[in-house]
Amino acid sequence: MAAQKQKITDLYASDITRGEELAYELRIHEVMTKDPFCLNPEMKMETVLSIFQENRFSGAPVTFEGELIGILSLEDLIRSLRNNDLNGSVREYMTLSPITVNANDPVVEALKTFARTNFGRLPVLDAEGHLVGIITKGDISNGLLTALQRDYHEEEVIRYRASHLFEDIVSGRTSLILRYDIRKGDFVHGGNASSKIKRALLRLGASPQLARRCGIAVYEAEMNLIIHTNHGGSLRVEIEPYKITMEAYDDGPGIIDIEKAMQTGYSTATHEIREMGFGAGMGLININRCVDEMRLISSRERGTNLYMIMYLNENNGTPAKEE
């Protein structure tokens, strides 16, 4: 049980690391509220009360002749209310020479200051010491979320670029070929190539349905190479504007009886392989169900070649046929 707890903590920690990474990348001026509303030291607390109420402020910097001299928080306002002293001035209730942060520092500096001081907001100064903004924990959360959104957007850009590949490159016959070597008995990486192929298809603009069908077919073929071959084999995927050809080939031992291999539930897999969840005798049947055309050529001398072909039409969401 203790080990289990450890695992989650590690994963949780790795999550924090991404946030910290951003906290170091982002600068305070990128997330702060610029040109904040400033109070005058001679203002009455009564005026502050209506300003805070109207604008839902929970604090504001106090400036005199453009220079920061203090900060007034909701707590200070409450203090004046307690004293029944709404006629008192900002000067009497504000906190003098508040702790500030620099606009060019990474966001993590502001986080550290928040943790150290327990303040809700910090005035932000530029290199010359002039007030340029104010930062709250809320600003930081928003800034981090925007940055994460940007990360996501970058993935979208990659996808967009990839999906225009076939339009941008003009030739008599353009195709993209992906190749993967699959090792015999390599269950640890089993399915890895198929996941990559599926992701590539999605980036190229394939619909989720098409990517899934191709993924299932090529996954079954990949597992067959791992389970049934003498020395492993290769996967080759050729993507063209009008079709996707997936090919799995190996150098033996070959399928003795193709008709039997195509029967539901027939498998030559060993007990150990079935224990791992394979060898259900469904592989070739699954493939046949997923692709538009399947061809299986096998001989003892040459090994096995399996061709899986998908024909693309307008509705399949393929790159070259979009628009």
Partner: protein
Amino acid sequence: MQLKEIISLVEGKLLTDHYDQNEKIDGAMGADLMSDVLASISPGAALLTGLCNPQVIRTAIIADIHAIIFVRGKQPEEETIDLANEENISIITTNLGMFEACGILYKAGMKSFEKQSLEDFNT
């Protein structure tokens, strides 16, 4: 059914992090053979299985499965959990057996995503 409901129904424990507990799971299936999973499942499903290796996650990636429930208290290795985290697939472990876990979810209204026979395949 929401992921958090599933977890509480099977008295399960979530092993992956950052998941959306309001995420909707549309249906489920139980299987130990990966080809059966690929033959039968629809996207957005939960998979109940007694098999506990990285191939289960890879199968889930291929089949667009959103959550995996390991029955009989199976504890996946760290690399399996890592892979699931990378792919945003939630892993839940429960001490219940396969029959009981499936039964509880089915009774609670979870739809079955299993296809009953090969004839269904072409539909």
